[in-house]
């Protein structure tokens, strides 16, 4: 077993660090008009990609802050599974942004092409990451739930 609050903050830190970095990159790209008239397409891809999980984590943190602070625990396997799948998923999303200039130089594929091509992989992975997070938050013990 592992302390739930500590594990929760680690997961939250991971998601907010990666999510913040990804959102910042795309925001700056939008400011510099990198995507032209198609910036909507990029945001329409990005927000559903990371916002649901960020919202889930934020909701749990806010709810916990309003409730009692009883000592709670969660199985390590749930934590590590959520941590691993989240890291893998967020790394993939970030790599799409960071590797795009290199991919274009080699293949001619633009950001929008990459979004379309990686959707098949990222969709199921996102589902997996959300499930892992959900299990992690639900399976905690010791708070009376």
């Amino acid at each position: 077993m592992i302390d739930f609050d500590r594990a929760k903050w680690r997961l939250a830190s991971l998601w907010f660090a990666f999510g913040g970095l990804i959102l910042t990159i795309v925001f700056v790209q939008t400011l510099f008009d990198k995507f032209g008239a198609r910036s909507d397409d990029v945001w329409n891809w990005l927000l559903p990609t990371i916002m649901p999980s960020l919202t889930l984590i934020t909701g749990v943190i806010v709810a916990d802050a309003q409730g009692g602070q009883a000592q709670r625990h969660v199985r390590k396997r749930y934590y590590y599974f959520a941590l691993a799948i989240s890291t893998f998923y967020l790394t993939l999303v970030l790599s799409i942004l960071l590797l795009e200039p290199l991919v274009y130089a080699m293949t001619g594929n633009t950001m929008l092409d990459l979004i379309g091509q990686t959707g098949v992989v990222l969709g199921p992975l996102q589902g997996l990451a959300s499930t892992a997070l959900g299990i992690f938050f639900i399976k905690k013990t010791g708070d009376g739930d």
Binding site: I25, V28, Q29, F32, D33, K34, F35, G36, A37, R38, D40, W43, N44, L47, P48, M51, P52, L54, T55, L56, T58, G59, V60, V62, A63, D64, Q66, G67, L97, L98, E100, P101, L102, Y104, A105, M106, G108, T110, M111, L112, F137, I138, D143, G144, D145
Partner: protein, 503 residues
């Protein structure tokens, strides 16, 4: 506790989903209907673009392969590529407000299905309900999408669409942007002249050609320059109706020029050769009555030339010393231009007749921001170049900034009068080099070059962003024409040759 968490999560999700839907756009649902006999099923919307900027037009349908055409009045200014499920194009409005008609139709088999038209950002749009207007549009669309000509249209380079010529008079050679241009070995004018002197059948002397002659039938007779100068735009004669008009090639411009005009007249033009029959086939009974005329040099279309991004009149003083001291001809000037451009890596040119002279167009090339050509084969590739080699500053620039490709076409016009361009602008690559002749015909080469001839360089510059479908014409251009000519090595070659002469 848990229920409160779930409630917070739901609120968060709602906010996230709501933030996705905040993109401002105008949407219309269109139902394709048949309009007129033989017309195409279509629907149309009149759209008012309130201000200059880029607008994204998307047409989505599940029932058919959607296709978009954008009309300004009765003229097509843009069309989408065929695609499954959705068609899209980006429109650059330079001066607003502008009202255009967007036609939604099917690229494949006929359909009367529904399609959703989405315009980003918001514009004012309403469906066109006028029957007459829809019939006119349907006929026009049918002509565009199913040309009656047997000639097969070329596949355009990625991002550069084929112009909408109403008819194609002759098949143009295939063009491969990705292929490296044919290797061009510059050689000096002296070498060329020596080669011509050594030829077994040298051309008649320029002085002899200057003498007027009424005999044009042998194809090598003299041509009064006055006859050449009275050639109106597009090669039409200013004489009575029915005067000879060379059969025009494909409409070279991205703007819709006049359609090619067929005609047969009495007097062959200087660059026309009467041909009876067609190769080995037996001559037709009418062949000796009214021989067909084969155009040796297609007319430059559209004429007057569209407004360029930059233009420069090149004084004779600049290059005159490189021409033969006596008896210079238009061919000598053409050779000089070709050799100068050849030193800059240009390998193919398109020649056209213009009133009182000729035009020479280079092929579309990709250039750097300073006007110098992009290195390697990417120069002739329409795809925007990516990182050539990894360096951090270049990577960061490519990460955050839009990739922009700059392209240009240079047109040299040599004629007895100054060039006055039209107010029209190009919408896309005119592909002049494909539609022009590969060289000047002898009849035109031999015409004397005189002081009153003006050499003008017109630069047509385009910009393309990788997120956009189509290149955008630069009006006005970012650079001076002299910067372009310096980047093309034209000015450098002339200067070096002058210095060699001085030495």
């Amino acid at each position: 506790m848990f229920s409160r968490t779930i409630a917070n999560v739901c609120i968060g999700l709602f906010l996230a989903i709501a933030s996705v839907q905040t993109a401002s756009a105008t949407e219309l649902t269109l139902r394709l209907t048949p309009a007129g006999d033989g017309g195409r099923n279509l629907a149309a919307a009149e759209v008012r673009f309130p201000k200059p900027g880029r607008y994204l037009i998307e047409l989505a349908s599940r029932g058919f392969e959607p296709f978009i055409l954008v009309y300004r009045g009765n003229r097509v200014v843009r069309q989408s590529r065929g695609s499954k499920g959705a068609a899209r194009l980006t429109l650059q409005i330079r001066r607003g407000p502008a009202t255009l008609t967007i036609v939604a139709t099917h690229a494949g088999k006929a359909s009367t299905g529904r399609a959703r038209l989405r315009l980003t950002p918001t514009v004012q749009a309403r469906t066109v309900s006028s029957r007459n207007r829809l019939v006119a549009l349907a006929t026009s669309v049918q002509n565009i999408l199913q040309p009656k000509t047997a000639a097969r249209p070329r596949k355009p380079a990625p991002g550069f669409k084929q112009s909408q010529a109403p008819t194609l008079k002759r098949a143009a050679p295939k063009r491969d942007y990705k292929a490296a241009p044919p290797k061009f070995t510059p050689y000096s004018l002296e070498q060329r002249r020596e080669a011509e002197r050594a030829a077994p059948e040298p051309r008649p002397k320029a002085a002899a050609r200057r003498a007027p002659s009424s005999d044009n039938g042998d194809g090598a007779g003299s041509v009064p320059i006055a006859r050449l100068e009275t050639m109106p735009p597009n090669g039409q004669s200013d004489g009575p109706p029915g005067d000879p008009v060379p059969a025009a090639g494909p409409n070279g411009g991205g703007i819709s020029g006049s359609p090619p005009i067929d005609g047969a007249g009495d007097q062959p033009l200087p660059w026309e050769t009467p041909v009876a029959g067609n190769g080995a086939s037996p001559p037709s009974p009418d062949a000796d009555i009214e021989p067909k005329r084969k155009p040796l040099l297609p007319p430059f279309t559209p004429w007057p030339p569209p407004r360029p991004s930059a233009q420069l009149r090149i004084p004779t003083l600049f290059y005159g010393a490189l021409l033969p001291s006596e008896g210079s001809t238009l061919g000598d000037v053409a050779d000089l231009i070709e050799v100068a451009l050849g030193s800059g890596g240009y390998g193919s040119f398109g020649y056209f007749s213009v009133p009182g002279g000729f035009a020479l167009a280079t092929q579309l090339e990709q250039i750097e921001e300073d006007g110098s050509p992009v290195a390697g084969s990417a120069r002739w590739n329409a795809a925007i170049t990516g990182l050539q080699s990894f360096d951090l500053s270049g990577y960061i620039r490519r990460l955050f900034l839009a990739r922009v490709g700059y392209y240009r076409v240079i047109v040299f016009i040599l004629r007895a009068d100054p060039v006055v361009t039209s107010g029209e602008t190009l919408a896309e690559d005119p592909q002049w080099v494909l539609t022009g002749a590969s060289g000047l015909p002898d009849q035109m080469r031999s015409l004397p070059f005189e002081d009153r001839h003006d050499l003008t360089a017109l630069i047509y510059e385009f910009e393309k962003r990788d997120a956009d479908d189509m290149p955008v014409f630069h009006d006005p251009g970012r650079l001076q024409a002299s910067d372009h000519l310096a980047g093309a090595q034209f000015i450098g070659y002339i200067n070096r040759s002058q210095e060699d002469l001085d030495d």
